[in-house]
């Protein structure tokens, strides 16, 4: 318990789902209100702005499909990060793991000689494997050599990005691309099917939802899930319980990296159909997924909702640029505000705040036994 002027803060242990949802909506509303001043200052009527954004994203089939399309990589990376964060493994490297998956998928699509119906499944399998390898390296480095996970995963993003550049400027540069740094287009049997009249590569979406469900089951129902939770909550307890820190770290990063790798497969096989500059393969999905995972508060299923939320923000950003003709930086300001408010309401989630007048303070203190 803590007192700040007339306010008394009381610790709330586990906020209810309804509280989380309610306060999150409140935060978004608050961000929208602040944002409306920015629209207004920019000479755009906030009412018009929001009605346009609402109509063109949630209010149209096209907009809904755009949200889904953006949510796919966020979901896959996000679920993986939820698992990693549960074990307190700070994987900042989903972006690099995603690219690793994209590289493996490109190899299958263009250079493996495989064709036919097994090609796409093989792309997913090897994409998962490549992402997993890129994830396991920091795990080994952390457990065996005490290399900080934030730094190793972050640095490995840069390394993979330059590796992709080397591939597309060098050995994998497509002969039909007139010397530009792209691989050739994938043959049609390496293209993911789309939902009609949209760019939603549904197989990846299905895999993403399946991954969320599976991850939830693993975390709640399996021995591995239990070990992950113990390692995350209390490394000391894990040690005494005889849980192998190495084993848990490897499993966690295998899953986390592998899922990000799948997201990379989806982007190249569903959207681009070739390998290209790393900043264009992924629009920072691996970094945005960190926020997706954090907002999901350790629940892989909640990542479905939070990835949709950020899919919506990406789509709204496009609308702000196209329909309202505003500078693209406005989306950064908007995203920043939403995040600030979302974390700002945390205080209401984990703390009960009451106003106390004068000397009644002691009463409350007496109640806060925990």
């Amino acid at each position: 318990m803590k007192r700040l002027g007339p306010f008394v803060f009381e610790r709330r242990l586990a906020p209810t789902r309804a509280a989380i949802l309610g306060y999150s909506l409140l935060a978004i509303l608050a961000a929208l209100i602040v944002m409306s001043f920015i629209f207004w200052a920019y000479g755009v009527s906030p009412i018009k702005a929001y009605s346009v954004i609402g109509r063109t994203t949630l209010g149209s089939r096209f907009g809904l499909m755009e949200i889904l399309r953006r949510a796919i990589p966020l979901l896959l990376c996000g679920v993986g990060l939820v698992i990693a964060f549960r074990a307190k493994f700070w994987n900042i490297g989903a972006e690099g793991q995603l690219l690793a998956g994209a590289v493996a998928a490109t190899w299958v699509a263009l250079f493996s000689g495989v064709s036919g119906p097994m090609k796409l499944p093989l792309m997913f399998v090897l994409g998962f494997a490549a992402g997993a390898v890129w994830g396991i390296i920091p795990a080994l480095l952390k457990v065996k050599l005490q290399v900080n996970d934030v730094i190793s995963t972050l640095m490995m993003n840069y390394i993979m990005a330059y590796f992709v550049k080397w591939l597309i400027y060098g050995p994998w540069r497509g002969p039909t691309m007139r010397g530009f740094a792209y691989t050739d287009l994938f043959p049609r049997d390496a293209w993911l099917p789309l939902i009609r009249h949209s760019k939603v590569h549904w197989p990846t979406l299905v895999i993403g939802i399946a991954a969320a469900v599976l991850a939830a089951l693993i975390l709640s129902r399996t021995r591995l899930g239990y070990e992950i939770r113990v390692v995350g909550d209390s490394p000391d307890a894990a040690h005494y319980a005889g849980i192998s820190f190495l084993g848990v770290s490897l499993w966690v990063m295998l899953l986390s990296g592998g899922l990000a790798g799948l997201a990379g497969v989806g982007e190249v096989a569903g959207i681009h159909h070739r390998l290209l500059e790393p900043d264009h393969v992924s629009l920072g999905y691996g970094y945005t997924a960190i926020i997706v995972a954090w907002l999901a508060r350790g629940s892989p299923l909640a990542a479905i909702i939070t990835s949709l939320l950020f899919g919506l923000i990406f789509a709204a950003g496009d609308e702000i640029k196209v329909t309202l003709q505003m500078p693209f930086q406005i989306t950064g300001v908007f995203n920043g505000l939403i995040l600030f408010f979302l974390i700002g309401v945390e205080v209401f989630l984990y703390w009960k705040i009451r106003v106390v007048r004068g000397g009644k303070e002691t009463e409350w203190a007496g109640k806060a036994g925990s």
Partner: protein, 383 residues
Amino acid sequence: MRKLVLLTAVILLFGLVVFGAEKIKAGFVYVGPIGDYGWTHAHDLARRIVDDKFDWLETVYVESVPEGQEGAIIDRLIAQGCNVIFTTSFGFMDGPLEAAMRYPDVIFAHCSGFKRYKNMATYMADFYQVYYLNGLMAGALTKTGKIGYVAAHPIPELKRHINAFTIGVREVNPDAEVHVRWIYSWYDPAAAKEATEALIAEGCDVFAFTEDSPTVVQVAAENGLPSFAHYSPMLKFAPDHVVSGQLVHWEKIYEDFLVKVHEGIYTTENLAYVDYWWTLPQGAVELGADFGVPINPVWEDELKAKVIDHPVFGKVSIYDLVMIRHSQFGAPGITFDPFQGPVYDRKGVLRIPEGTWPSYETLVTMQWAVDGVVGPWPGEPEE
């Protein structure tokens, strides 16, 4: 039968007139931010110029569109009424093409690409002649015989420019070398600065570059060295040190294209062979570091004083040589090409035979490096 043909022709003509009289709403899809002071900045400047000029024209733009996302952006632009779409990055290639097939009533123009369709043209303003002219001056100004070149990405466009520049350098200074450093980014000031510093440490004393910021100009000036600007007017960043450079006028292409759409000359049926490859003669590019200043007056005397024995023109000052060559690229007809054969690459392979000029294909797919280029050359063809 004849009546039918006549009738069809009348209808077509009428259709053209109706289309031509319509207002045009042009949507511009940019790959970078309009504040980049380079590629996208220049396109947007041109968009504003044509927008102001014609009252039948309305323009909208979308900046910072990553490659692969252009399809959805084009859909949105068309949904809000655009009937002409410009896309300004090679990497947008497939998006506009797919959209052109999906929207047969909309006219597309794709910058720097090569895939066309009945309602999709391509366009490009190219600098290689101007780079060659800059090379003449750079070759005359170097004292160490080493010229630094900071380059964004090893793609044909840049290779063509570096080669043309080097040919210019070697025309006046046959032993000079052009040292190239790649920064792998269109925009990364720190990388451009450190690449320039590395070249200075290597002994380079004149600089040219292809990258979207005035960094190289600024760093060279800090070290008291001359440089050549790129793309935007950069004279003001180092008034005493910038010698010349290249400037772009996209509005020339946009104006020509949009007027022809407005007048019904370009339709959704006849663009499959419309490809603008505009250079100095059409005014799409300009020599200089600021508009109307081909050579910085500060450097005029030095360039006039430096006289060489030229194989074609005999005793000639560098200043005059630049002017002669510049006029050879001008109207009415081009009488010279920097890549006039024979051109050998640095591995000794004859790339352009004696007495010929390179074809457009050769120029836009150029992968080799000419003699005099020093440094890594990713994608260099084997001998």
